[in-house]
Amino acid sequence: MDVRKVAKLAHLEITDDEVALYTPQMAEIVKYVEQLNELETVDFEPMLGGLTDEGAATETDRADVVRPSFSQEEALSEAPAAVAGHFQVPKVL
């Protein structure tokens, strides 16, 4: 596995030391999980939710009514940087 490439996809800027640390660890874990290949799974559909029948049957729609939400001030109050009612980020262009 090219750990540096995966890190880039995951938006992580990892150091050379980390590459040296993670490469053998992740290779070992990937090798471990590959034991699933010995299982025949053609008769099964991937289980992507619907763990319980009751959960799957639960009506989840809410009435489409306006309800109070966070104010702009609240929504911005945890931002590392905000200006004039907006999140502020480093210059893009």
């Binding site: 990937v30 099964f44 559909e45 289980m47 763990l51 009751e54 639960t58 480093p90």
Partner: protein, 464 residues
């Protein structure tokens, strides 16, 4: 006076925290204010004045909610999780937020950015994880109950290692609204209790459908406390003998074998069951959990909340540096694993394959529950290990979850029950896994056991 008892609880929490590091924040001002309000109102409430500790990945309005991570170090939630809202309405008093493995990723508490919580039976040992701080808060006698979260055993394993009760409910039983997401299809809020009855009380208050979590199920909530004390005679307990072999500590095996005999003496029928795909569960878990984590943790980008790296040149560089500096090693490892198994060309080989095996695991449980009411296994393959003992070997750490992850994969409920001490005076626990929505059955079996075979020993560090 509720205020007096809450102040004593806060004093205990503060006094023990230097040694145990179980709380990341102790909310004295909030707790005293709430206690005063309860005293003033004088209403009769189901959890009136009941002190509770809450894992730091459950949102609490106006309070720090760090997830044990540097990236959320100073983050204060804007709203209460549904579970917290219901606890407040029932008169419970939140006294503090507890230590945890970073983003609930770990089995020892050592991945916390703020240092590990310590096991009150022996502070050179881990309390288990990821909800280690909540387990310690209960085990050390500070509170009777605490909330944790479970993705693969993060309540049951620390409960076992600390000598208390820990429940992972059926998926959809407790709303996840306000529980910071790790792996959404596996995550549950769980409950620690000094006794099964504490769990029953808290579960009865927080369980049930919530419009803010579409995966919370519309299933009636029984009065769990009133249903305690049920008959054990005639209950069928399934034992998957194949799981009592390799990798299981001899002393743990002996104790859990003793539990099986004790249940037989209480009149339960012991039956053999098989979980043929149990050995694949860790592999399935580490594909699905990391895949979902890589998506869920993409939101930490230094823009809307949390930590932002300084002096990054440009937006993209800011994302990369923020995540590099804000996340610890275990979180990065899992995000990368998840990214890898989801990446183009690998999705079918890993993620889709794991989801198919997950369906097999669920089918195995459904088949087993035609023959029994609950399945009994150890909770953890060993007693609490030493701090640092496994922290350099991620795969060895993952194997701690061998008995617990399958319940999260299948969505079924499970409870860890204390059953004695090892020769080194460290707690040993056993696990009961039940069919969907059978929390009452599990709580009954647990309460009946501890009623007949109580453990009187207390940890070395204990608030009396």
């Amino acid at each position: 006076m509720i205020k007096t008892s809450i102040e004593k609880t806060l004093d205990n929490a503060e006094r023990l925290n230097g040694e145990l590091n179980s709380f990341l924040s102790i909310e004295r001002e909030h707790a005293v204010r709430q206690a005063e309000a309860i005293d003033a109102a004088g209403d009769d409430l189901p959890l009136k004045g009941y002190a509770i500790a809450v894992k730091d990945n459950i949102c609490t309005k106006g309070m720090r909610t760090s997830c044990g991570s540097r990236i959320l170090d100073k983050y204060k939630a804007h709203y209460d999780a549904t579970a917290i809202e219901r606890l407040n309405a029932a008169g419970a008093v939140l006294i503090g937020k507890t230590n945890m493995d970073e983003f609930a990723m770990g089995s020892s508490n050592e991945s916390s950015a703020f240092g590990p919580a310590k096991n009150p039976w022996d502070i050179s040992r881990v309390p288990g994880g990821s909800s280690g701080g909540s387990a310690v808060a209960v085990a050390s006698g500070v509170v009777r109950a605490a909330l944790g979260s479970e993705t693969g055993g993060s309540v049951r394993q620390p409960a076992s290692l600390c000598g208390i009760f820990g429940l992972k409910p059926t998926y959809g039983r407790i709303s996840r609204y306000g529980l910071v997401a790790f792996a959404s299809s596996l995550d549950n809020i769980g409950i620690f209790g000094r006794e099964a009855e504490d769990i029953a009380k808290v579960l009865g208050v927080i369980a049930g459908r919530d419009g803010f979590d579409s995966t919370s199920a519309d299933v009636p909530v029984p009065n769990y406390s009133a249903e305690l004390g049920g008959e054990i005679a005639g209950k069928r307990i399934g034992v998957p003998r194949a799981l009592f072999g390799e990798g299981l500590d001899a002393e743990v095996r002996e104790k859990v074998e003793g539990v099986i005999e004790n249940y037989r003496r209480l009149g339960a029928e012991i039956v053999d069951v098989e979980l043929p795909n149990a050995k694949y569960c860790i592999a399935v878990y580490y594909i699905i959990a990391t895949a979902e984590a890589s998506s869920n943790l993409a939101r930490y980008d230094g823009v809307r909340y949390g930590f932002r790296a300084e002096n990054a040149g440009g937006l993209r560089q800011m994302y990369f540096q923020t995540r590099e500096e804000g996340f610890g090693a275990e979180v990065k490892r899992r995000i990368m694993l998840g990214t890898y198994v989801l990446s183009s060309g690998y999705y079918d080989a890993y993620y889709a394959k794991a989801q198919k095996v997950r369906a097999m695991v669920k089918r195995d449980y459904q088949a087993a529950f035609t023959a029994c009411d609950a399945i009994l296994t150890p909770t953890s393959p060993s007693v609490a290990f030493k701090l640092g003992e496994k922290s350099d070997d991620p795969l060895a750490m993952y194997l701690n979850d061998v008995y617990t992850v399958s319940a999260n994969l299948a969505g079924v409920p499970a409870i860890s029950v204390p059953c004695g001490l090892s020769t080194e005076e460290l707690p040993i626990g056993f696990q009961l896994v039940g069919n969907f929505w059978s929390e009452s059955v599990l709580l009954n079996l647990a309460a009946a056991y501890s009623g007949q075979f109580p453990i009187d020993a207390k940890p070395r560090i204990y608030a009396d």
